[in-house]
């Protein structure tokens, strides 16, 4: 039994860690803008392609930071171009804009790559295989959850202790009041997108070191799953998103182990619906009621 379970848990925890890094981006944006940033999964994919093209001509030590920089710039640009002009528009319009951006990014990547899968460069240390008990795996599998936890602890500290963190909390509590209190809403939102994109870039490096080919639509599914993870954990809550992501990653792999492979994706959504029905605020979410 342990022979079966160990590899399954290993890849579950690893996938979970990667989902977590994406989920944090979703949960932060949702917490502040009340927007499901459908384009977040595509930003994750774009980070993968940045790496593919940069590593072809630059050494890793240069391309790695450049990838993160470019991804952050992309996330920032998407917010400025597609979401900022709609700040006073109904929520549905912003969500449609997000869907439009996702459509655009996917088509753009399809065009640039010619729609073919690209091989992700090998990152020496991460891609090395090591043996664990009866099975073996890449180092990245073990490294991912560790890094995820370190990053999320850092992020939680940032939000608890720093001035920008306090501003973020204020904005997510009450948009209008925070504005009246002199908080620069736009910079807070930009900061949120920058952090989210940064984590997506890190997640992308880990993800593609493990699964080494990048296609234009590859980010869509992990993106949706990460969003489900964020809802599961209670949207707006960072520890919630991380825990939700690990739960989904592990469950998904157990389902595959049991042979119900057709349903590995569907399961995530079933979980989402169950959560929404029985605990709409997720594990750690707060209840918000509308004033009449």
């Amino acid at each position: 039994m342990i022979d079966k379970l160990l590899p399954c848990l290993l890849s579950g925890v690893s996938v979970g860690g990667q989902y977590a890094l994406i989920a944090v981006g979703y949960t932060m944006v949702y917490g502040i803008l009340r927007l499901i940033n459908f384009a977040h999964g595509d930003i994750f994919t774009a980070a993968g392609f940045f790496m593919v093209y940069l590593a072809a001509s630059l050494p890793l030590s240069l391309s790695l930071p450049l990838v993160i920089l470019l991804t952050v710039a992309l996330g920032f640009a998407v917010e400025r171009v597609a979401y900022k002009p709609l700040r006073s528009a109904p929520r549905m319009s912003v969500m449609i804009s997000a869907i439009g951006v996702s459509y655009l990014l996917q088509n753009l990547m399809w065009y640039i790559t010619g729609g073919l899968a690209k091989q992700y460069p090998v990152i020496p240390w991460l891609s090395t295989s090591i043996a664990i008990g009866p099975t073996s795996t890449k180092i990245v599998t073990l490294f991912t959850p560790v890094l995820t936890i370190i990053l999320s602890v850092a992020l939680v500290t940032l939000i608890r202790r720093t001035k920008i963190g306090m501003a973020m909390r204020a904005v997510s509590r009450d948009f209008e009041t925070a504005r009246l209190m002199g908080i620069k809403i736009d910079s807070v939102i930009s900061a949120t997108f920058i952090i989210g994109s940064f984590l997506a870039a890190v997640g992308s490096v880990l993800y593609f070191s493990n699964y080494t080919s990048v296609t234009p639509t590859i980010g869509a599914m992990p993106g949706l799953k990460a969003f489900v993870a964020a809802v599961f954990g209670g949207i707006g809550s960072i520890p919630g998103a991380v825990i939700g992501a690990f739960v989904i990653g592990i469950c998904e792999n157990i389902i595959k182990m049991l042979g119900y492979t057709t349903f590995s994706d569907a399961f995530t959504f079933a979980l989402l619906i169950v959560i929404l029905l029985f605990k709409p605020t997720g594990l750690f979410g707060e209840k918000i009621s509308e004033k009449v």
């Binding site: 890849s11 043996a131 099975t135 795996t137 595959k256």
Partner: protein, 390 residues
Amino acid sequence: MKKILALCLVLVLSLSGAAFAQTIKIGVFEPASGDNGAGGKQETLGIEYANYVVPTVEVGGETFDIELVIVDNQSQTDKAVSAAQSLVDAGVSIVLGSYGSGVSMAGGEIFQSAKIPAIGCSCTNPGVTSLCDYYWRVCFLDPFQGTVMANFAMDEKAATKAYVLTQLGDDYSTGLGFYFQRAFAALGGEVVAGEFPEGTSDFTAYLNNAINDGVQVFFCPTSTTSAALIIDQAASLNVPFALMAGDTWESSVILEAAKGKNVEVFCSTFFDEKDESSTIAAEFVAGFKAWMNANPDKLTNNGGNDIVAAVSALGYDAYMVAIEAIKTADTAVPDALTLILPSVVHEGVTGAISFNEIGDANKDMAYIKKVNNETGAFDFVKTQSVADLG
């Protein structure tokens, strides 16, 4: 304003048909993007080379230029419908392709309703021809290919248990997997099956299941996109079994993925460039290589090297069969080609081609190749025909 614009477009489109009366159009219905983009490009190369070799055809005493109308079906059945429609709209006489069975089946429906014949190059699912009266093909079928690989697994790898992994919604993958499974079970072997949805990147769960089930071979007829991931992950898991697949895996994508890794990969295919027994084949290989090497774009489309893929040879053969049909019918009217195709016989690069009543080529030879992990090339293992199988 919009109406006027539409009207102009209608006019332009209808005129364009009349303006170039001296050309015959042949549609190339291949994926240039998506999961099967790499293979589709290689098949298109074969057709383009054939067009380079035979650019004109004599019909009714006049010489006609042959124009290739190339569309991208994006490896997806819904996109294939649009692509097929644009071929029909362009007024092609006959269609060649496609790499991938699902898109061929989807396109076949459109060609059938437009009454335009099509010749499949490397689509191996039986449904392509059996469900469409306007489809022929120049390659062998999955029931044969599956049986060949099942026998190979039994005989050469002494396998008693196999894991079969197929992609949901991919007709090629499901079909070949199904026939392998049936043949392997008929030979007394035991099969464990798994499916993965499109866009899967994590195959470790399937590989681990296979390890735990103690299989000796892992049969995964998938697109090259998934193949690269499967090979990489199998290598990092140090799997104790061999990976086996069908014709799609004869691709430089596989070679790149398996190079320098500790994993055994076998695939069956239609053709071997090193097989010098046929002069037609030898001539083709030499000419094709020279043509590609003279043109960097073509070389890129072939995956960056000048290894001749079997699908290129099939694309070449399909084009030649089409030319043969036009010559015999002495016209390029689709209806006439449809009537003449069943009787066309052609000595092709991949062997003699003649069609049975369903529209399939009477072919019974498969080549089995193995990836050489050190050189990053295919090693020829053996040929196998239905007769060998007894």
